[in-house]
């Protein structure tokens, strides 16, 4: 009755494995279909949410600030889905923000590089040499994305319990392996691990609400208590604290809001020279 998070270097391969795993385990599949709900809830084009998951910020694409906001909305929806248990999650970069929950099994799937090369060359109409360069560039871009968005390199094995390369192992065997591993006792939910995921769910809910006002907020939750950290000038402290308490206090499940205002020393210093 665990949660399985699948990450992959190729979206479609990861999705195929995630779908087969969810069928084999009889778990729900949580993937990019939830973006439609997120898009309608916050009135954002779905395409922008997809871009925020796939592309590095750019002048013509999504800005860094908007990407952080969109990712906060996606995190909120993902955590709401994961708190239900018996879920296989894929394509929502949950491996980068669902950390420290013992019943979450994290697996990374690496597609067969030869197959990727063949597919890319035929899809893009490129020679194998040019396709190899394109794949390398895409991989570097993806690394830049994960470092920029979550300050972590998603290609690093230490983020996962297991990495499976499909060079020698067929997709069906990989699925069987994940299913077996999900059955291990240590991936069964416990009271504490369930509480961890519920706390994360509440924290992401509060953060998604506050971020459109204060993009720098950091939120953690413990039961029904929420702790919010933000940077502000001394003179803004009171006003900001009250506003945060008001906004966060309206969210169901929040009983008490604690606000920590970190004084930004550099900004007043800069302002004093004006």
């Amino acid at each position: 009755m665990s949660v399985v998070i699948i990450s992959s270097d190729r979206y479609h391969k990861g999705r195929e494995i995630a779908q087969k795993t969810s069928e084999a385990l009889d778990y729900a599949l949580l993937d990019r279909e939830i973006l439609e709900t997120v898009a309608s809830k916050y009135n954002i084009p779905e395409e922008r949410l997809r871009k925020s998951l796939d592309e590095v910020p750019s002048l013509l694409g999504v800005s860094s600030k908007m990407r952080a906001l969109y990712l906060a909305y996606i995190e909120e929806a993902t955590l709401a889905g994961l708190s239900g248990d018996r879920v296989v999650c894929h394509g929502l970069v949950a491996h980068l923000y669902v950390l420290g929950v013992s019943h979450v099994l994290k697996v990374r799937i690496l597609a067969d590089p030869k197959e990727v090369l063949r597919e890319t060359a035929s899809r893009e109409g490129l020679s194998e040499e040019k396709a190899a360069k394109l794949i390398k560039r895409q991989a570097l871009e993806r690394q830049r994305w994960s470092r920029g968005a979550y300050r972590q390199d998603e290609t690093g094995a230490s983020l996962y319990d297991m990495v499976i390369s499909l060079s020698q192992i067929e997709a069906e065997k990989a699925v069987k392996t994940i299913v077996e591993m999900a059955g291990y006792r240590k991936f069964k939910p416990m009271t504490y691990s369930i509480k961890c995921i519920k706390d994360k769910e509440l924290a992401t809910k509060v953060r998604a609400t506050l971020m459109s006002y204060y993009p720098d907020v950091r939120v953690r939750a413990d039961g029904t208590t929420v702790v919010v950290e933000t940077n502000a000038l001394k003179r803004e402290k009171r006003k900001r604290t009250e506003k945060i308490k008001e906004l966060a206090g309206r969210i169901p499940g929040v009983d008490y809001v604690e606000v920590h205002v970190v004084h930004d020393l550099l900004r007043p210093a800069a302002e004093s020279f004006r």
Binding site: S102, R108, L110, P113, T155, G156, A157, S158, Y160, D161, M162, V163, I164, S165, S167, Q168, I169, E170, K173, T177, E180, M181, Y184, K186, F187
Partner: protein, 272 residues
């Protein structure tokens, strides 16, 4: 009957050695690591310590002794491929996944552990402080990284090099052992007569390379069904010497059916 070769790559204090030993015990395989260096030391009359340094220490900035390093690695590769051609082997030394080149049925596993867990293991075993343990582990990791990059142009931390990467943290040593033993039974990692031939060809190519490299450093070797081709980029007087030496080798190594030298050609990617 299931027969496989398993290479287990590991960082220091990652419990990879323990995993390898238990896998070998469970499957009834031979577990090798230092034995390869001892074989190479015996066969090529090189002190073991020199071989250890060649395969462990990061190359110096000026690349001094790089030829000597290449020679020693060729000796180690030859000793390793000879050992694993018998099959039913678990190897947990350095760079096994790179030294056993181009053999598809070798199950390549990497065992990793978090720095905190590794430091705790080192503290318990060596009685050093946490700070010292962490810095020793990081230094060791960096040396291995540089070594692999300089010789093979790849990063040992790159997951693409392995069939599985397992993190010992929530997964225990026992889980990893169960998992590897199960994986080794899969068809993809079972030796077939064709794959056995490939392994024997690799061992023979490595043996020829080890015999040549000291005098002819700029050579690469491939072998198919006992037919050996030695490549050299040069095409000068030394080629004649190489051809002469190659003919001598045909008499010395009975597994060679035929040997020829291709001079002035670039090395094929599958060559050792």
């Amino acid at each position: 009957m299931i027969m496989a070769v398993i290479t287990i790559s590991r960082g220091s204090y990652s419990k990879g050695k323990e995993v390898a030993e238990k896998v070998a015990e469970r499957l009834g395989y031979e577990c090798i690591s230092r034995e390869v260096l001892l074989d190479a030391s015996d066969r090529f009359h090189i002190p073991e310590i020199k071989l250890v340094r060649a395969i462990h220490d990061a190359p110096s900035i000026l690349g001094r002794f790089s030829h000597e390093r290449q020679v020693f690695i060729a000796y180690i590769q030859s000793a390793l491929t000879r050992r694993v051609q018998k099959d039913k082997v678990v190897y947990h030394g350095l760079a096994g996944h790179l030294l056993i080149k181009g053999i598809p049925h070798v199950l390549k596993v990497r065992i990793i552990a978090d720095l905190a867990d590794r430091a705790a293991n080192e503290m318990a075993r060596e009685g050093v402080s946490e700070e010292d343990a962490r810095s020793l582990i990081l230094k060791d990791d960096e040396e291995r990284r540089q070594w692999t990059r300089s010789l093979y142009g790849v990063d040992p931390w790159d997951c693409q090099l392995y069939d599985f990467v397992l993190r010992i943290h929530r997964l225990t040593v026992g889980d990893a052992v169960d998992f590897i033993c199960e994986a080794a039974k899969r068809e993809a990692f079972t030796t077939t007569p064709a794959l056995q031939q490939k392994m024997e060809d690799l061992a023979l190519a490595c043996q020829v390379k080890a015999a040549l490299i000291d005098v002819f450093p700029d050579t690469a070797v491939i072998c198919e069904y006992g037919n050996v081709v030695v490549y050299t980029k040069k095409s000068d007087r030394s080629t004649q010497k190489l051809q002469k030496r190659a003919k001598e080798l045909q008499k010395e190594i009975e597994e060679i059916k035929y040997i020829e030298v291709h001079a002035g050609e670039s090395f094929p990617p599958e060559a050792v």
